[in-house]
Every structure is written in structure tokens, then in C-alpha cells.
């Protein structure tokens, strides 16, 4: 797997290495994906316990230990589902765009693309929504850049078809992100999470 430094300094080289390697999906899952999905919830748990969520108005929002644990576990599984399902959706799309359908490569690609966002999630340690947004937006732009740049190389398709496939995956990820938002507020409305007057 390419290191973070290689991804930053020589992304093309990192993706070419990814394309050459024969990657076992289970190995990628346990060595990379699980840890990527684990880091943000752990940061969020520590940050929310210590400082409370700061939404911008008055007092920070403190949640009880039980609720925080539930939310963090749900966050972990949501991220895990998001990463793995994106790899499966990518593999499903691959024949349409003439790309490699090796699940291991798809998983590894998703892992590399998610790395800037996971690195940015270290800001969850100070859970102020706007501060997090300020860091996560550039991280997201970097991730999208890596997706458009890396997909054609890692999956062995041309830049034009790679661009189309990357755009299709962006559509899937946008829908995934808004689903996460919707599920979150629906859980709040049903009494799980912060106490709101519904």
C-alpha cells in the first residue's frame, strides 16, 4: 500500500504502484479500511467527551457517556459501510467504464482517496462544527482530486472514461453523505442522540 507521504508527494507513482500490485481484498480491509473507519469516531469520542460539541451558540453540547458511545459506534459502522460499499459500487460500475474489477484494488483505491478526509478528522478532537468544516472542505477537495487523478491509473482505464466513472462515484458519495445526514437527524427525532424538543 502506498504511504501517506507518497500519496502527497507523488500521487501518480502511488496509483501506478496500486495498479501493479495484486491486492487481496481481506488484507486491504483489515490492514487499511478498518483503521480508516475507526480513526474519526475515536477522535470524535475523545473530543466530544473532553470539550463537548460546539455548534457556535453559547454553551457546548455535552452528551452522556452512553449516548456518545452509541453515536461513535454508529459512526464507525456508517463509515465502514460507506468505504466498503463504495468499493463494491465501483466494481459494479467497472465493466461499463472498461476498468479493472479486482475488488482488492477498488478497496485500496477507496482507502487512498479517503485518507485526506480521515487525516482531517483529527480536528474532531476539537469538535467545533465550523472549525471542522474549515479543515474538512480542503481535505474533501484533495480527496476528490485523488479520485479523479487516481482512478484511471489504478483501475487501468483511460482518462476520459476514468473521469466519467469518478463522476458517477462522486454522485454515489454525495447521496451517501446526505443519507448519513438524514439518518442522523431522523435518529435525533426518534430520541437517540442529543435531547431535542420533538
Amino acid at each position: 500500500m502506498p504511504s501517506i507521504l507518497t500519496i502527497i508527494r507523488r500521487p501518480t507513482e502511488a496509483f501506478e504502484a496500486l495498479a501493479r500490485s495484486e491486492t487481496d481484498p481481506l488484507a486491504v480491509f483489515f490492514k487499511q479500511i478498518v483503521w480508516l473507519a475507526l480513526a474519526p469516531p475515536v477522535f470524535a469520542f475523545i473530543g466530544a467527551s473532553a470539550f463537548g460539541w460546539r455548534l457556535g451558540a453559547a454553551q457546548p453540547l455535552y452528551l452522556s457517556g452512553d449516548v456518545l458511545t452509541q453515536i461513535s459506534i454508529a459512526y464507525f459502522f456508517a463509515l465502514l459501510f460507506g468505504l466498503v460499499s463504495t468499493a463494491f459500487v465501483g466494481r459494479w460500475m467497472a465493466p461499463t467504464y472498461g476498468a479493472s474489477d479486482a475488488l482488492g484494488t477498488h478497496l485500496a483505491l477507496v482507502g487512498v482517496v479517503a485518507t485526506p478526509l480521515v487525516a482531517g478528522s483529527v480536528l474532531h478532537l476539537f469538535p467545533h462544527v465550523f472549525v471542522n468544516l474549515l479543515v474538512l472542505i480542503p481535505a474533501l477537495i484533495w480527496s476528490i482530486y485523488l479520485l479523479y487523478k487516481g482512478l484511471p491509473i489504478a483501475l487501468g482505464t483511460g482518462p476520459e472514461r476514468g473521469m466519467l466513472m469518478a463522476s458517477s462515484l462522486v454522485a454515489y458519495l454525495l447521496v451517501g453523505a446526505v443519507t448519513l445526514l438524514g439518518l442522523t437527524v431522523a435518529l435525533w427525532a426518534s430520541g437517540i442522540g442529543p435531547s431535542i424538543g420533538v
Binding site: A57, Q59, S168, T179, G182, A186, S195, I196, V198
Partner: protein, 485 residues
């Protein structure tokens, strides 16, 4: 799909397509996009620095906000729809426009109406209904122009030399018929002066009629009309037929049937009957199926045309518009679910949702279409492919930044509005919550400036493409006996 020769007259009829009116409508649309988006950027700035109204009533948020929405929807959007409808209906029917003089009347009367309406909004004339703010003199004028639009469009279809009516015309036709119906019913009012009228409906009924109009204006204008644009211009861009024509027709009827019921989801937890709210929610969820059928049809059409991406920057805009179409048409039904709506309603999440559709879908597909259309109308190449590519990234960055800023603001607001303290009182005041939104609004302002900068690049690029040139004549192809009506 119908094809047409660009410059060679064919057959006994040497009458060319009426494309000069299309060029005029495209130019007006671009001018409105700049004015409307600039108004949007200004009010975004006012939310960060309220003093930017300089104490002038006409510069206040309330007046400029409706100017912004009217200029982008009716100026930019409808001018683009009218122009592309006139362009595509001729080519899919193999005949020039019916009543071309009336088409020119539609073009100029519409611009005068939007300009006059915009000035009246700045002067404080308002009916107080969202997206239907214009007062009764303008409502009557809009209805008259719209009927003329219908005569030109359906008159052309009636004279067609091809038996099947291509799917883009079904969508443009639905746009014309349904918007006429919605506009006339929702605008029924009793005038008390030249600048003021009161709705014929009252209370909850007024709200239901307003959102039947409001949601279906989104549905049949901002979705259906632009789907007409997609179904004509995407296969043209791609140089291949729609992936599944049958799916496009099924999606059209499913879309038309289900959209019209979805309006009450704007009125959840209000005084309207519970069952009406439930119906609005269920029909909104059903709506996802035809919406995504169209998205899949578009994505699969473009997937086979990847070679074109090398030479056609416009196609990128269409690809991305499909991604945001997918997002907006998923997000909308999700936000109509009552347990989500209870948090998301009355927050900036709704504003983000509207703009993921307006910027990501409507504006992107229009930009892509203009980059395709203008060089063909002028019989030349696009002035700068490089500038179009820069525009693409500015448009993507502006839209993403806008949506993310509003998601952050909206979810924070939703949580804060509803937070209770230990004794069950609201934890935060409205004023405190709004004061804490300034950073998000600053981010949204940046997003708006980035998007507007992209639109300015388009205007410059197309101005340079058009400058010093005239619309080249194009002629219908020779009659084909197999496709005669």
C-alpha cells in the same frame, strides 16, 4: 433521433430554421444569469455584513432576495428553456418554427416582463408568495406571453414532418401546459390597486395552492423543462441515441403523475390536514423512482461517448449535472420524510438543497448546453476550450462549497432551534443562533463568488465566440418517406 443538416438547403422547402431568436434568448439568458447571481452574492454578503443595504429599502435583503430568485429562475432559466425549446423542436420536427413573429414577441416580451417585474420587486411590490411574488399586472403579462409560447411550440409540433414526437418535446410540452395551469390558478387574486392584490384563497387553502404551485414550479420548470434540454442535447453531445428510449417515456409519465401531488411536504406540521401532509410525503418518496430512472438513462448514454470528452468540454458539465441531479432528487424525498423534516425545515439545509439543484443541475446543464449550442449557432469553434475547462472546476468548487456550508449551517440550526434546557425551555434564542451562523454565511459568500466568477468566464467566452458573427442558417433535411406523419 432526428438529425438536421447545418447549412445545406434540402428538398423543395428552402425555408431555414428560425435560429436567430434562439441566439437572442441565449444571450438574454446569460445576461440574466450574471445579474441574478450577482444579486445572490450581494444578499449572501448582506447576511455577513447587514449594513451592506446602506439603509436603502430597495437594497434590503427582503427585496433583493426575490429579485435574485426571479432573475435566475425566470430570466436565466426560462430564457434558456425557451431558446432551447425553439431550437430543438424545429430539429425534432424537421420544420421551421410556427409563427416566428410570435416567437420574437415571446423573446422580447419575456425580457421586458422580467425586467419590469424585477424593478417592481425592488420598489416593494410583492404578492408575498414565494416564487410568485410578482403583482397582478405582471401575472397577466406572464400568462399572455406563456400562451404565445405554447402557440409557437405546439404549432411547430402540429406542422411536424416526423410522425413520432421525440421525448424532449414531451417534457417541454409538460413544462408549458403545467406551468400555465399552476401560474394562472395560484395568481388568482383581487386587485386593490395597481401595486397590490390579495389572493382569492385564504388560510390553509392558500398555503396548499401556493405550494402546489411552488413545488411544481420546481418540478415542471426546474426539473421537467431542463430534462427536455437533457434529452435533446445529451444525445447530440454524445453523438449516440438515448440509452433506453422506452425508459425515458416511462420516466416521463411516472414523473408527471407523481410530481403534482408532492407539494404538501412544504407544509409539514402546519395547519393543513395530516393526511394531506402524509400524501405529500409518500408521493415525494415515489418520485425518486422516475427521477433516478432519468439519471441512469443519462449516465449510461454518456458512458458510451467517453471519446467525446477529449474534444468537448461541454460534456463534462452535463456529466456533473447528472451527479447533482441524482443528489438533489434523492435529498428532496429524504427531506420530505416527516422525522427528517422536523429538524431540516426552517434551516439553511433547505437553502443548500435548493442550490445543489439550482447550481449543480440547472446551471451546469445550461452551461454545458450553451457551450455546445453557441458555436453551432455561429458556425464556428468555441473561443477558448481552456476557459471552459477552468469554468468547469470553478462551477464544481462553488457548488460543493455552497452545499457543504449550508449542510453545516442547517444541521447546526436544526439542533439548536430544538434544544431544550433542564426545565424544558428553549436553550437558545433565534438571535443568538443566527449570530453564530456568520462563519457559514461567509463560506457561502465565497462559494457564490467562485460560482459567479465561472459564469462570468462563460459570458466572456461566448461573447468572444459570438462577436462579429451572425447566426448561420440551418435547414431541415430532405423528407424521409418512412417518418412522415
Amino acid at each position: 433521433m432526428a438529425t438536421a443538416s447545418n447549412v445545406t438547403p434540402a428538398g423543395p422547402s428552402r425555408e431555414s430554421y428560425r435560429d436567430r431568436v434562439v441566439t437572442a434568448l441565449v444571450v438574454f439568458s446569460i445576461i440574466w444569469s450574471l445579474l441574478g447571481m450577482a444579486a445572490g452574492v450581494h444578499i449572501a454578503a448582506e447576511l455577513v455584513w447587514p449594513n451592506l443595504d446602506f439603509g436603502q429599502e430597495w437594497l434590503s435583503f427582503g427585496r433583493l432576495r426575490s429579485l435574485h430568485t426571479n432573475a435566475v429562475i425566470f430570466g436565466f432559466g426560462v430564457s434558456a428553456l425557451m431558446g432551447t425549446a425553439f431550437y430543438s423542436v424545429q430539429r425534432t420536427c424537421h420544420v421551421p418554427l410556427f409563427a416566428p413573429g410570435l416567437a420574437w414577441f415571446c423573446c422580447f416580451a419575456w425580457q421586458i416582463g422580467v425586467l419590469g417585474g424585477g424593478i417592481s420587486l425592488l420598489a416593494g411590490w410583492t404578492g408575498g408568495k414565494e416564487y410568485a411574488e410578482l403583482e397582478w399586472p405582471f401575472d397577466i403579462a406572464i400568462a399572455v406571453v406563456w400562451v404565445c409560447f405554447a402557440i409557437v411550440f405546439f404549432g411547430t409540433i402540429a406542422r411536424r414532418r416526423i410522425k413520432p414526437i421525440y421525448v424532449s418535446n414531451w417534457f417541454y410540452g409538460a413544462l408549458i401546459i403545467v406551468i400555465a395551469m399552476l401560474h394562472i390558478v395560484n395568481s388568482l387574486a383581487i386587485p386593490v390597486s395597481i401595486s397590490k392584490s390579495y389572493s382569492l384563497f385564504a388560510g390553509a387553502q392558500d398555503a396548499i395552492v401556493q405550494w402546489w404551485y411552488g413545488h411544481n414550479a420546481v418540478g415542471f420548470l426546474l426539473t421537467g423543462g431542463f430534462l427536455g434540454m437533457l434529452y435533446y442535447f445529451l444525445p447530440k453531445h454524445a453523438g449516440r441515441p438515448i440509452w433506453s428510449y422506452r425508459l425515458s417515456i416511462i420516466a416521463f409519465w411516472a414523473f408527471t403523475y407523481s410530481y403534482i401531488w408532492a407539494g404538501p411536504h412544504h407544509l409539514h406540521y402546519s395547519a393543513i390536514p395530516e393526511w394531506v401532509q402524509g400524501l405529500g410525503m409518500v408521493m415525494s418518496l415515489i418520485l425518486l423512482a422516475p427521477s433516478w430512472a432519468t439519471m441512469v438513462n443519462g449516465i449510461m448514454t454518456v458512458a458510451g461517448a467517453w471519446r467525446k470528452l477529449r474534444v468537448d468540454p461541454a460534456l463534462k458539465f452535463i456529466v456533473l449535472s447528472l451527479a447533482f441531479y441524482g443528489l438533489a432528487t434523492f435529498e428532496g424525498p429524504m427531506m420530505s420524510i416527516k422525522s427528517v423534516n422536523v429538524v431540516s425545515h426552517f434551516t439553511d439545509w433547505t437553502v443548500g438543497h435548493v442550490h445543489s439543484g439550482a447550481l449543480g443541475w440547472n446551471a451546469m446543464i445550461t452551461f454545458g448546453t450553451f457551450y455546445f449550442l453557441v458555436p453551432r449557432l455561429m458556425g464556428t469553434a468555441l473561443y477558448s476550450v481552456r476557459l471552459a475547462n477552468v469554468h468547469f472546476w470553478l462551477a464544481l468548487a462553488g457548488t460543493m462549497l455552497y452545499v457543504l456550508a449550508m449542510w453545516g449551517a442547517g444541521v447546526s440550526q436544526g439542533l439548536l432551534w430544538l434544544s431544550l434546557d433542564e426545565i424544558g425551555e428553549l436553550s437558545f434564542s433565534f438571535k443568538d443562533i443566527m449570530a453564530s451562523m456568520a462563519p457559514y454565511y461567509a463560506l457561502r459568500l465565497v462559494a457564490g463568488i467562485v460560482f459567479l466568477a465561472g459564469a462570468a468566464l462563460l459570458a466572456y467566452n461566448l461573447f468572444m465566440t459570438i462577436r462579429g458573427r451572425r447566426t448561420v442558417p440551418a435547414f431541415p433535411p430532405a423528407p424521409d418517406a418512412a417518418s412522415q406523419p
